[in-house]
Every structure is written in structure tokens, then in C-alpha cells.
């Protein structure tokens, strides 16, 4: 069994290929990409920043928890930092296991936990000017007491 989590300043498309044990019949990959709009506004690019030391610790905790929760063999996640153009990959999660059910399930769980727990932030820059820090949908209003 193995697990990896890291942050990358380089485009994820150029990461080295990951090898999968021969015992695995299923590999599920999730690629989260930068889309060209959010809530009705045209997005030009995204900027990701992180509390890098803590983000890598928490990301590693998540992939290790995935190994305990699901009967999977390999789980890897990588999150991009820096300025990303439309269409670039922001996050990749890959899970390999003997059968597909647990690989799909673990992959979903990992990306949800990454979005919920890892101290990474994104700032959208809009085509019509301006930029804003993005809030997740489950977050309350910023000034709610």
C-alpha cells in the first residue's frame, strides 16, 4: 500500500507517470480543472496559494486515512499552486484497487476531504476586471458572527 500527497508549482500534465501494482484491476483518476466561469462571471485565470507546510501535512493525513477507510492499494493526490489558466489541472486524485467500486468511492472521499480540510485558497481573476477570493458553498457568510 502506498500514499502520496504533494503540492506542485509545475503543470500537473507533466508529472511523472504513476505505476500501479499488478494486483490492481481498477485505477480511478479525478482531474479538477480550471473552468471559464463561476456563478455567472467569466473567469480569466485562477491563483492558488497555500499554507504549504500545513497543507502537505493535512493532505498526507487525508490519503493515509483513505488507506485505512477503504480497501485500496494506492492513493495519490497532488494540488497545483500559482497562477493557472483556463483548462489547466488544479488537482489530481488517483486511486488504485483490486476492484472499481472502492476505487471510485475512495477517490470521491479524498477530493471532498481535500477541498474541506487542506489550507489552500483560490482567487479568481475575471475577464471584465477585478478579482475575488473564492468561498466554498458550504461556508457561511463572511461576516456572520
Amino acid at each position: 500500500m502506498s500514499s502520496t500527497f504533494f503540492l506542485s508549482d509545475e503543470a500537473l500534465e507533466y508529472l511523472p507517470e504513476w505505476s500501479v501494482p499488478e494486483s490492481c484491476g481498477a485505477v480511478v483518476s479525478f482531474w479538477g480543472k480550471v473552468r471559464n466561469q463561476n456563478e455567472g462571471r467569466r473567469v480569466q485565470k485562477l491563483e492558488y496559494s497555500a499554507y504549504d507546510v500545513l497543507a502537505e501535512k493535512e493532505g498526507l493525513r487525508i490519503v493515509n486515512e483513505a488507506l485505512e477507510r477503504f480497501p485500496i492499494d494506492v492513493v495519490r493526490a497532488v494540488h497545483r499552486l500559482g497562477l493557472l489558466a483556463i483548462g489547466e489541472a488544479a488537482v489530481v486524485v488517483e486511486v488504485a484497487s483490486a476492484h472499481r467500486g472502492e476505487a471510485f468511492e475512495a477517490c470521491c472521499w479524498v477530493i471532498d476531504e481535500v477541498k474541506r480540510r487542506v489550507p489552500i485558497w483560490k482567487r479568481e481573476v475575471y475577464e471584465q476586471g477585478g478579482a475575488e477570493w473564492v468561498m466554498c458553498h458550504h461556508s457561511p457568510t463572511l461576516t456572520d458572527k
Partner: protein, 79 residues
């Protein structure tokens, strides 16, 4: 005692700085937050902020120690 405070993302904008070194008599991380809310005019509700101490998540009740590096984290938005 002296502590370092780091600010991230929207809180960095609100604080107008990445980090600062402050001399403080606050005893907990929560007291320090309240001190910086009045000192810097931070607008974000405390309920949205997560604190960290020395590169690990902590609670608002965590006691400050000399030389500690405290971070205030706004709601995360990776992925």
C-alpha cells in the same frame, strides 16, 4: 513575549500584511485574535477562521508560548 503571526488569502488582504512579529501579553490564541481584530480592523468572523500554532492546527484555547508562530486561516477553497 514575542510571537509571529501569519495571515493567508483574504485575511492577508484584510491585515495588509503577510506576517508580523508582535510583543503581546495575551495568554491564548483566541485572545491574540481579538487583539489583532481591534489592532488591524479585521472583518472576518472568528467562527470562520481556523487557528494554527507552529505549523499545526490548534484551538482558540491554545496557550501562547514565546517564539510561537501563529497562523490565522480563512475558509479553505482548494480543488
Amino acid at each position: 513575549m514575542t510571537v509571529t503571526i501569519r495571515y493567508f488569502a483574504r485575511l492577508r488582504d484584510e491585515a495588509g500584511r503577510n506576517s508580523e512579529v508582535v510583543e503581546t501579553s495575551c495568554s491564548t490564541v483566541g485572545d491574540l485574535w481579538n487583539n489583532r481584530v481591534s489592532g488591524l480592523g479585521l472583518l472576518m468572523a472568528q467562527s470562520l477562521v481556523k487557528p494554527a500554532c507552529n505549523d499545526e492546527f490548534c484551538s482558540w484555547d491554545t496557550l501562547l508560548t514565546p517564539g510561537a508562530v501563529i497562523a490565522f486561516l480563512p475558509p479553505v477553497a482548494g480543488g
